[in-house]
Every structure is written in C-alpha cells, then in structure tokens.
C-alpha cells in the first residue's frame, strides 16, 4: 500500500507561464519598491528623472544666454525625446540587469532554472515593474515640462491613437533589445554601470534623442536610420506635436512610412533578440557560466 506522505502533486497547469509572469511581476515590484517607505520611494522616483531633464534645460538656457542658435522647437524636441528615452534606459537596462541580479547578487538563478517556471516568462514578468516605474517617471517629467517649462503639450492637438499605438510597438521593441542584452549578460561578467551606460549611450547618440539626427555625420545618419528607436521617438514627437520638423534627416519620411519601418525593424530585432537570448542561455549552460559570480 502506498504511503500518503502528505504531498499532493498538482498537475502542471496549462497557464504555468502566465502564473510565472504574474508572480515574477509581483516579485519585481516588491524588489523595486519595498526598500523604502512610499514617500521616500515617490521622492526617489521623481527626483531622478527631473534632474536628468534639467541637465538639458540648463545646457539650453546657458547657450541661450550666450546668444547661441537656440530654437525653442529644438528645446521641445530635446525635452520630449529625453523624457521618453527613459523607457530605453530603464526598461532595456532593467531587463538585462535581471540576469546579473539573479546570478551574482541574490544567487537565485540556479533555483529558478530548476523550478518548473520558464525563465523567459519570469524575465518578462520582472520587467513589468520597470515598465510601471518608468511610466510614472515619464509622466512626472512631462508634467514638469508642461507646468514649469511651458512645454506646449495640447490634449486636443495630440494624436492619441497614434501615440498609444506607437508606445505599444516601441515598448515591445525596447523589451526585445533588453532580452538580447540579457542573452549577452549570461556570458559577461558583472557590469554595474558600464553596459547600461554604453548600450543606452549608443541609442542616446544615434537615435535623435537630445539633438536632431541630421547633426550627426553622414555615416551616423545612415546608422540612425536602421535603428527602430529613431522612428519610435520621431513618431512620439509627431503624435504629441512637439519638436516636429526640427530634424531634416527625417523630415522627408512620412508618418505612415515611419510606422511601417518601426514595425518591420521591431519584428527583425525581436527575432534577433530571441535568437541571442536563446544562444546566450544555451552557451552559458554548456560552459557552466549560468551561476558564475564575477565580483572583483
């Protein structure tokens, strides 16, 4: 007679990935937010993005005082793009950082791997909290711009349908980049700042975030035109009707053409990102790097 040890094995649920996603999203939120009381967390969430935007404001104002070529449209261009670029900096880096967090910091990656949960679904869930916090930061920055810096965001003048559609595609694309970076993170040593700064810096430089793409040398313009983030930011500006027409490199590209390029490049980069993630995961396990620690 079989002994009943009190364990009751549950049948694997068909929605196991959904469960993993849900609980890892909750875990991510707790990790991001419960280190401080809500007030301190709110201050932290507000100060950082506003300071980042104010750097550009001060740069612009100083040159304006010196009598430089400061078109106010250029200021709106910089402000809006810089605010939405937070998604790239935070979400992209946040997704990649999860690997190093789990592997080096909490050293839990081996336990996650041997659990029935799917690591890919887990990562998507964890990145949701980054997305929520970044959305809050972007909203605060835009509100700061509108109320304190007279950024003329018009509720009526904006094309909200285009805006939300572009946001969904753009965030999908950014998360795909994050997954590619996470795939590389399986194979690299612990990078606390360098990789974040570097990859974000690449997009910051080439995607027309704080200056028009047309300012770049011709090879830089060509490179910018193959990056989906360039079109994503351009579409954000067009949908909000802020800083439009400042970039001669993209002026000849219609909105529908920008959408098509954004969609196509997102599909290509997503396939590439999934391949990199899978390859990184496979190679790391083959080489025994999946739970390595690289602290110096």
């Amino acid at each position: 007679m079989a002994m009943n040890l009190g364990f009751r094995r549950k049948a694997a649920k068909p929605n196991a990935n959904v469960q993993t996603f849900k609980w890892s999203a909750w875990l991510g939120w707790q990790m991001e937010s419960n280190w401080a009381d809500p007030f301190l967390f709110a201050v932290y969430s507000i100060v950082k993005p506003i300071a980042a935007s104010l750097i550009l404001v001060v740069m612009y104002q100083i040159i304006a005082l010196l009598g430089g070529g400061t078109d106010v449209g250029l200021f709106y261009y910089m402000f809006v793009s810089n605010a939405f670029f937070m998604y790239v900096g935070q979400v992209l880096f946040g997704v990649a950082q999860i690997v190093h967090d789990d592997r080096e910091h909490y050293q839990t990656i081996r336990y996650i791997y041997i659990s029935p949960s799917n690591y890919f679904a887990y990562m998507l869930g964890r990145s949701v909290s980054k997305l929520i916090i970044t959305t809050f930061a972007v909203a605060i920055t835009m509100a700061f711009g509108v109320f304190m810096l007279d950024v003329p965001l018009s509720i009526i003048g904006a094309n909200w349908l285009l805006f939300f559609a572009v946001m969904v595609i753009g965030i999908f694309c950014i998360m795909a980049f994050g997954l590619a970076l996470a795939g590389l993170s399986f194979l690299t040593a612990k990078h606390q700042g360098g990789m974040n700064e570097g990859i974000a810096g690449l997009f910051y430089l080439f995607c027309g975030v704080v200056f028009p793409v047309s300012v770049l040398p011709s090879w830089g313009v060509s490179f910018a035109k193959i990056l989906p983030i360039t079109y994503w930011l351009e579409l954000i500006r067009r949908s909000l009707n802020l800083g439009v027409g400042m970039d001669s490199a993209l002026a000849g590209t219609s909105t529908s053409a920008c959408i098509i390029i954004l969609c196509l490049s997102t599909v290509v980069f997503t396939i590439l990102a999934l391949a990199i993630f899978k390859a990184g995961d496979t190679v790391a396990r083959k080489k025994g790097l999946i739970d390595t620690t690289t602290a110096y």
């Binding site: 280190w35 100060v47 993005p49 300071a51 040159i63 570097g198 690449l202 300012v215």
Partner: protein, 285 residues
C-alpha cells in the same frame, strides 16, 4: 617554519599589504576580464559624445565641447566612487567578504584605501580614453599654462572624492537594497548640480543669487570645484569659472582632510552600530 618562529610584520607593513591586496584585483582582475575593458572604456564614450552633439546643435562656443569632454571624463571617477567605493561594502557584505575584512588584523581604512587606488586606476583608463577621443574625434584643444595648479586640483579632487567615497562606504555597509538605489539616485542629480556637462557658474547666470547658492551647496561634493578648477586651468581666459582656482584648491585641500577624518570616524561608528544590531553579516535584504 613553526608558527612561533614566524616574524610578525609591523603594523605599517601589514596595512601596506592590505592596500596592495585590495587594489590588486581591481587592477589585474579587471584587465583580465576583457568584456569589462570594453564596457567600461569604449561604450560610456557614446553618452559623452551625445552631449557634445547637443552643444553642436545649439551652436555653442567651442570651449563648451571641451567642458563636456572633461566632465564626461570625470564621470568615470564619480561612477567609480558611487558603485565601487560606496556600494562596494554592501557588495562585500553580500558576498561574505566583509566579515573577513573585519577579523583581519588591519585597519579598515587600508581596505578602503586599496579599493580607492584600484578604482582610481581603472577609472583613469576610462577618463583618459574619453579625453583622447575628445581630442581626436571632436578636435578639442586644451592648453595647460599652469600644470602644477592643474595637477594640484586633480590630486586633491581625487583625495577628497575618494575620502567621500570611503565615508559613504561605511554608511552603505549597513544598508540593503537602499545602497543600490542611493547610488542610482546620486547619478543624474549630481551630474546636474555639479555641472558635469556645463560650467557650474551657469546656475548664477540663469537664476542669479539662488543659482549661486546652488553652486555653493554643490561645492561640498569635491568634483564640483575640481571640475570647475580643471576647466579653468585647461581653458584659461574664459569667464566661466565659479571662483578663482587658488581658492578652489584651498577648499579641496580642506575637503580632503575633512572627508578622510569623517570616513575614519563614520567607519568606526557604523561598524560598532552594525555589531550591536547584528547587521554586518545580514545578506539579501
């Protein structure tokens, strides 16, 4: 050799060994990890280049591109102080090294000093590469009519800055995830108030007296006056300096002494506090 025959090294020799021992993995270990060299030196240049293009788009005077390059180079030291000095004790605690440091017969300051020396080396590689790229790609021209003053400003900025890092390290020692978030919080706001990408005098030009007070308040962070002093040395004759360079040097000397003393006392205080509250070996908070 029997244990009794082993000649105990002097206190100074032991601490020198500790400094060298803690600096060693940062100098040798980092260069062994080639991906770190790439990520830490090449990629951060892209962010600095973006600010250069901002000034180009705004048609700023050419010296502003030099200001950005110098500021971008100094971000290497600030990032190093935040992540590899201040937050390092937190990491050491997480990895289980902290208790080994505490039971070793050496001064805690030697461990921190070793970290600082090793960190300065790797940061200098990144800073130099930024300056070289600035000169080669963006064609900035720097002149150095008073090298003694420039190196004086630089050296005392480093001493004060890493002294501040040592002080932060003792605070971070008892923190959990706050450490990570605090380092993150001290990035952009400090870039802003310390004038990494524009002369700090710009606050006065923009806001008048309140702007001056912002710059005065930011001067407690050694890199504010250090950056301003170095820019004045490298671009003599421009009117963007906050206060005269010699005054900045005196203040930096004072900050160096202040932060070293504060680091020593705060380290002792926080260690004792940690022992009383049993938080020195607490991990994964």
């Amino acid at each position: 050799m029997k244990f009794e025959e082993y000649k105990k090294p002097s206190w100074a020799v032991m601490n020198m060994r500790a400094v060298f021992g803690r600096a060693y993995p940062r100098i040798i270990g980092v260069n062994r990890e080639l991906s770190w060299v790439f990520f830490e030196t090449v990629l951060p240049l892209l962010g600095v280049a973006a600010y250069v293009f901002v000034y180009k788009a705004l048609e700023a005077p050419p010296e502003y591109i030099g200001y950005v390059i110098i500021g971008g180079a100094m971000t290497a030291y600030w990032m190093n102080v935040l992540w590899s000095m201040a937050a390092q004790m937190y990491w050491e605690k997480e990895m289980g090294n902290l208790e080994l440091y505490l039971i070793a017969p050496i001064s805690r300051m030697s461990v921190l000093g070793g970290m600082a020396l090793g960190g300065m080396f790797s940061s200098s590689v990144r800073a130099l590469s930024t300056i070289v790229v600035g000169m080669v790609i963006f064609g900035i021209s720097l002149s150095l009519p008073d090298p003694l003053m420039f190196f004086g400003i630089f050296i005392f900025t480093m001493i004060a800055l890493y002294g501040m890092g040592m002080m932060f390290a003792s605070l971070y020692m008892l923190w959990g995830r706050e450490a990570w978030h605090m380092s993150s919080l001290f990035t952009e706001p400090i870039y802003l108030v310390s004038g990494f990408y524009f002369p700090v005098k710009g606050f006065t030009a923009m806001l008048g007296n309140p702007g001056t007070w912002i710059a005065v308040g930011a001067s407690i962070i050694p890199i504010t006056l250090g950056l301003d002093g170095m820019r004045q040395c490298l671009y003599p004759g421009t009117m963007d300096g906050f206060i005269p360079v010699w005054q900045e040097l005196i203040i930096l000397v004072g900050l160096s002494v202040l932060f070293m003393i504060l680091a020593k006392y705060s380290l002792r205080y926080m260690e004792n506090l940690g022992k009383r509250e049993g938080r020195l070996t607490m991990r994964w908070q």
